[in-house]
């Protein structure tokens, strides 16, 4: 029995058990509902707004109906015509919202409330055109000549965006993909974290590790949850694609297949890197309550990396900073896809970044396996990273109480005795720290706003820094946490 096969069994178990759970199914259903809803609902509202109803009454030139329709078509609006016998019937229809506008004698437009500018332009242009044709005929000008004279000149409209050579669609796609990667890495990484802590707190881990190396267990867990997450994303993406096709929405982000393939690569690498770190740190906590604080550093690196990448890449994807961030393994998954979507990365850059990330992953697997082995059998308060590294796994030696062993899911009972923590009063120190952090956050936000010439990003960076920094200082290990379960 080799470690790889055992790792695969672990992965299969993760996928089976998790996909069976009600929470997973409900989550997937909700995600599908939200994504499909986000695609379908706006188009339903849109199509309702796109077709306009125009009422006509009084003297109506022969050509008017067609002229208005043509004008509407030119700007992508379907215009439906309704004729009314008298003004009163037409106005009634306007009030009932059966029509958007009533054209009286081809001279007056009557609206229910404020005029719809686009529709007014369409109808007015139609009236003008018909009027000009009539006058031309009266003046003895051939209508065909006239039409040639007044034939519309096609005018294109181009969105320049902030940087030459790139269109705003690419920028939007880059930002959206990076955000999606962040969410995916954080979500599935967190599943690894809680999974590791659950195995430790339910004590099943000792049974497992008696049969397999820690590295296989951790790698298998990461792989299983990753595959499941990938499948979840794939299903959602497929549903989104189907929804887009069905409702025939044209707003598919302009992302090429090559870029999408890179996004998949970076999801795999980014998730694997962060999930390994999550798993290793998760082994330091004995209780699910401790899981988040023990894995805090991973989250800070992830969110910090995301903001740094966002700021660097969106301000100048060609800058040295952007390049550095897109090559450094911890930030590459967040910075490289954006640069790829914007088409600014040279061919060798993603290749080098993948190689670096792969090397980092190998190192992390070794590191995580060792931390995990050193910490997973230690219960009680949080284990410090350094202690886990020294591999002094001690059994708990205080279980002399009759009936102490408790099978199943009651981690609190045995841990409670050891998990007692002396809390020191640190309110004054904390509030002082908070003020310092607040000043730093304001300064940082202002600096970013000035440098990036974007107040929103400045505000966001400042707020993110404040949130992250306060969490770091809260989770700061104080000296009272240092006792362990040594005999």
């Amino acid at each position: 029995m080799n470690g790889v096969r055992q790792g695969w069994l672990v992965a299969v178990r993760e996928m089976r058990e998790r996909s069976r759970s009600r929470g997973f199914r409900a989550g997937l259903a909700l995600m599908l509902l939200v994504v499909v809803g986000m695609i379908v609902v706006p188009t339903m509202i849109d199509t309702g707004a796109r077709a306009k109803d125009v009422g006509l009454t009084g003297a109506i030139p022969d050509e008017l109906t067609r002229a208005i329709s043509d004008q509407g078509e030119a700007v992508g609006t379907t215009v439906r015509m309704h004729r009314y016998d008298d003004v009163a019937a037409g106005e009634e229809a306007v009030r009932e919202e059966d029509v958007d506008v009533l054209v009286v004698d081809a001279q007056r437009l009557e609206w229910r409330g404020k005029a719809d500018d686009e529709l007014r332009a369409v109808v007015t242009a139609g009236i003008q055109l018909v009027a000009v044709q009539e006058r031309a005929a009266a003046a003895g000008i051939d209508p065909d000549d006239l039409l040639a004279l007044v034939a519309p000149v096609p005018v294109d409209s181009v969105e320049l965006g902030s940087v030459a050579g790139r269109n705003p669609d690419d920028e939007l796609a880059a930002i959206a993909m990076t955000a999606l990667l962040l969410v995916a890495i954080a979500t599935y990484g967190n599943l690894v974290l809680t999974g590791v802590v659950e195995e430790k707190s339910s004590r099943v881990v000792e049974v497992l590790l008696a049969r397999m190396p820690a590295r296989s267990l951790l790698t298998g867990k990461v792989a299983g949850i990753g595959l499941l997450g990938f499948a979840q994303f794939a299903v959602t993406a497929l549903a989104a694609l189907v929804a887009i096709t069905v409702v025939d929405s044209v707003d598919i982000p302009a992302v090429s297949g090559g870029v999408l393939a890179w996004v998949v690569v970076w999801f795999v690498l980014g998730y694997a890197l962060y999930a390994m770190a999550y798993g290793a740190l998760g082994s330091l906590a004995s209780r699910t309550e401790d899981a988040q604080s023990v894995a805090g550093p991973v989250l800070y690196v992830l969110i910090g990396g995301y903001w740094a990448s966002l700021v660097a890449v969106s301000s100048d994807p060609d800058s040295g900073w952007s390049q550095l961030l897109s090559l450094f393994p911890a930030t590459a998954p967040l910075a490289m896809p954006g640069r790829l979507a914007l088409g600014v990365a040279a061919w060798w850059e993603p290749v080098l970044a993948v190689v670096l990330a792969g090397l980092a992953l190998v190192g992390l697997v070794v590191f995580a396996g060792r931390v995990y082995t050193g910490a997973i059998l230690r219960t009680g308060p949080k284990v410090r990273l350094r202690d886990s590294w020294q591999r002094t796994t001690a059994p708990r030696l205080d279980t002399s109480e009759p009936g102490a062993p408790h099978l199943g899911s009651s981690p609190q009972a045995p841990v409670g005795k050891l998990g007692r923590r002396t809390t020191i009063t640190r309110t004054s120190a904390t509030s002082g720290r908070t003020i310092v952090i607040l000043f730093l956050a304001v300064g940082l936000g202002a600096a970013v706003a000035v440098l990036g010439n974007d107040v929103v990003i400045g505000l966001a960076v400042g707020a993110a820094f404040f949130a992250v920094a306060t969490r770091i200082t809260k989770a700061w290990p104080d000296s009272s946490d240092r006792h362990m379960s040594h005999p």
């Binding site: 004590r203 049974v207 008696a210 059994p395 030696l397 408790h406």
Partner: protein
């Protein structure tokens, strides 16, 4: 045969194992005894590589233990625990397959064990929906699911009611009779005395006493005579080569030399007016234990 040779392990300033050497033989039950903190759990974990020894070696059939050997071991840790929200049968099959058994093999084994321990109708229940006793049974099956050649159990009897204890004893004896080495720790010395052929007594990380229990008992150079009688207190000092250990109304414990003439023992019986019970035996395990640990 399982052999631990010179196993040492320190946790900070504390030596959990200190040159500890013992073995567990195939086909026999070995009781692993010692006060709390003596190093029992650490020694058992070392067998499974859960604790890396600072010095010393653990062998199975003469070979240092690796993954291949562990696939043929069964282990029930002191801290019981399986996946609480996983179905009983599923997780037993999973644990069996982790030992490298084929899925069909494991299924058959799991089903027969579930049947045998009366859990067949609960096999699709989640573990945490089972009663405490049933959870203990599942934990036991988890240790047996790969038909182990070596079964190591850390405090298998703690928390069991007398009936479950009986079942557990029978089962362990059966596993040993089928040829496996069975090593388990316990504080219930009388139970160990009844059940085990061999004992290992550990104290402060060192082996204080180890070997065949009957041999260990008979090797002690004295025997005890316990007398229970009616009537007035007896004056034992009149008897030659008999030493009074303790006496209270109606009961007395006397020590005689192992090689003493049986006549001395008979003399005790003669000396006692109205005997209710009379036993002549080597020291019990509990006495060996106290002596070994106190030394």
């Amino acid at each position: 045969m399982l052999e631990v040779e010179g196993g040492s392990k320190r946790f900070g300033d504390v030596a959990a194992l200190d040159g500890c050497t013992f073995s567990a033989k195939p086909g026999r039950l070995t009781g692993f005894l010692g006060p709390n903190g003596a190093g029992k759990t650490t020694a058992m974990r070392a067998v499974f590589g859960l604790v890396e020894l600072d010095a010393g070696i653990v062998r199975w059939r003469g070979v240092p233990i690796g993954a291949a050997q562990r696939a043929r071991f069964g282990y029930m840790p002191e801290e019981r625990g399986l996946y609480p929200r996983m179905k009983v049968r599923d997780q037993l099959i999973y644990l069996g397959r982790l030992c490298g058994r084929s899925s069909r093999d494991v299924r058959g084994l799991v089903d027969s064990w579930l049947e045998r321990l009366g859990l067949a109708d609960r096999k699709n229940a989640h573990l945490d929906d089972l009663s405490h006793g049933n959870q203990q049974r599942v934990q036991l099956i988890a240790a047996l699911v790969n038909e182990p050649d070596l079964l190591v159990l850390d405090e298998p009897f703690s928390g069991l009611d007398p009936i479950a204890m009986g079942t557990m004893s029978e089962l362990l004896a059966e596993v040993a009779a089928a040829g496996a080495s069975v090593l388990f720790s316990s504080h219930q010395l009388d139970l160990v005395e009844d059940l085990c052929e061999d004992v290992v007594i550990i104290d402060h990380g060192r082996i204080a006493l180890a070997g065949d229990l009957d041999e260990l008992r008979t090797a002690v150079p004295h025997r005890f005579v316990d007398v229970h009688y009616r009537g007035a207190a007896v004056d034992w000092s009149a008897l030659p080569s008999v030493e009074l250990v303790e006496s209270k109304d109606g009961e007395a414990r006397l020590r005689v030399d192992r090689d003493a003439d049986l006549a001395a023992v008979v003399a005790i019986a003669r000396h006692t007016p109205d005997i209710i019970s009379f036993t002549y035996q080597p020291p019990r395990l509990s006495e060996l234990f106290r002596q070994a640990v106190a030394a």
